[in-house]
């Protein structure tokens, strides 16, 4: 069996393999690993804000990267990698909803503790804000996450979400407006946010 499988070698040794096929496999492997390393965090966070559940977000990222691996040859421009992955992830997420519709209005995500924050006040503040972001309608929170976390322009977001730019800008306005409103209803939080 072995003599037929000329490509079956672990990635570390692949580079020493002289055959053309193997070296292209190795290139793909290197590309993939670089992609995972650079973007898995962003993708996970994006998935988290899309799904509000850690485990689901993780599964979604796994599915996304698996599909990305299979389709890696179709990614020509590395600079477009992130939005390419986000597109795959959104598609995977939509597929998840086709498979199983579940109640997305009720969720509890109090378990997330940001270990990187130094003070308790910050932890509380982050938690409060997270709850508020999570309570935004998804059509508002999604462009907001793409803008604030992903650093995408209104135009980019419009392209990614298949909306026109004015719609995106309106939703971004409403997202921030709602968060600000929520903040003003709970004056004791203002202290954290305005210092």
């Amino acid at each position: 069996m072995k003599k037929f499988g000329n490509k079956k070698t672990p990635p570390q040794v692949l580079n020493t393999e002289p055959s053309k096929n193997s070296s292209s496999m190795a290139t793909k492997q290197v590309r993939y690993e670089a992609l995972v390393k650079a973007l898995h965090g962003d993708l996970y966070r994006y998935a988290y804000w899309l799904t509000h559940e850690k485990q689901v977000a993780e599964d979604l990222v796994q599915e996304t990267f698996l599909r990305a691996w299979r389709a890696l040859d179709s990614l020509k421009d590395e600079k477009a990698a992130k939005s390419w992955l986000i597109t795959i992830l959104r598609r995977e997420n939509a597929r998840r909803f086709e498979r199983k519709r579940f109640d997305m209005s009720e969720y509890e995500e109090a378990s997330i503790m940001d270990t990187k924050s130094t003070t308790t006040e910050q932890v509380i503040e982050n938690q409060w804000l997270r709850d508020k972001i999570a309570q935004l309608p998804p059509e508002y929170s999604e462009p907001l996450v793409l803008q604030v976390l992903g650093g995408y322009s209104g135009e980019d977001i419009a392209n990614m979400l298949n909306l026109n730019k004015n719609t995106v800008m309106t939703r971004l306005f409403r997202a921030r407006n709602q968060l600000k409103d929520a903040l003003e209803k709970e004056p004791e939080k203002m202290r954290f946010l305005h210092e």
Partner: protein, 258 residues
């Protein structure tokens, strides 16, 4: 909350600058993008410090948002992703190896069939070539001075296979045995000849060997007689009169119509 696309038109056109932005327009634009560097935004900020202050506040707010959105990524996610991919491509490889194995098996089977085919079938294209080869192959099995004799009765018994019999002896029969004549069950008769043995084959009619009336090489000569039920082939050395043998056979053979 009641966002639908018809209400999106109440948005000021940010990328379609108006000379002067009113407060509401400014608020909407800066809420949509606190870091906006559009000309009319900058102009509005320069004209009104309160607007600049709002932008600054929103940028700070964005910072807080970013911090909040920056949820911790599971530490093992990176490794899980690599592992998952390795497993996935391993599965793929395994499928490929299975395909390879199946291919190898197919090749082996085909090779076997080809060998089988070559071994048991016609490497000769006509009766004459095969008959000569057959005689040469058994050259050392029979000698003209062999004392062994086969009776007409036992010959005729064997001839029943071909629904034929001889009314009398054709000559001194040294041997009469069934043999494989290029894959066909045939009767191989060896007669005592003038200088060497004479071989006579009774061969079923088959299409894969072309009928050759007369054939010869530098040592042997042969002739085929085509009957309705079978072919009879005579092979002898050049001292022998094949015509004589032929006439002899024609006179003495009779076919039953079974």
């Amino acid at each position: 909350m009641n966002d639908n696309h018809t209400s999106d038109s109440d948005m000021p056109k940010v990328d379609n600058p108006t000379k002067k932005m009113d407060d509401l327009q400014y608020r909407r634009s800066i809420y949509a993008d606190p870091t906006s560097q559009d000309d009319d935004i900058i102009a509005a900020q320069n004209a009104d410090p309160a607007k600049k202050q709002l932008a600054h506040e929103l940028c700070l707010f964005d910072e807080k948002l970013k911090q909040a959105m920056n949820v911790p990524v599971p530490e093992d996610l990176y490794n899980k992703l690599l592992l998952r991919q390795t497993l996935a491509s391993h599965q793929q490889e395994k499928r490929k190896s299975r395909v390879h194995l199946a291919l190898a098996a197919s090749v082996a089977i085909i090779a076997g069939l080809v060998v089988n085919y070559l071994q048991f079938s016609n490497s000769y294209t006509n009766l004459g070539d095969y008959a000569l080869a057959h005689v040469y192959h058994e050259e050392n099995e029979f000698y003209n001075d062999d004392n062994n004799r086969v009776s007409l009765t036992s010959l005729n018994k064997k001839m029943t296979t071909f629904n034929a019999s001889f009314s009398g002896s054709l000559g001194e029969l040294i041997s009469a045995d069934y043999c494989r004549f290029d894959g066909m069950k045939s009767l191989h008769l060896v007669f005592k000849g003038l200088t060497d043995t004479v071989a006579i084959f009774v061969v079923p009619k088959e299409e894969h060997l072309a009928f050759t009336k007369k054939f010869s090489d530098n040592k042997l000569q042969g002739e085929s007689l085509g009957f309705k039920q079978a072919n009879i082939i005579i092979v002898a050395d050049k001292n022998e009169s094949l015509a004589l043998w032929q006439r002899n056979i024609n006179e003495k053979i009779s076919w039953s119509n079974k």
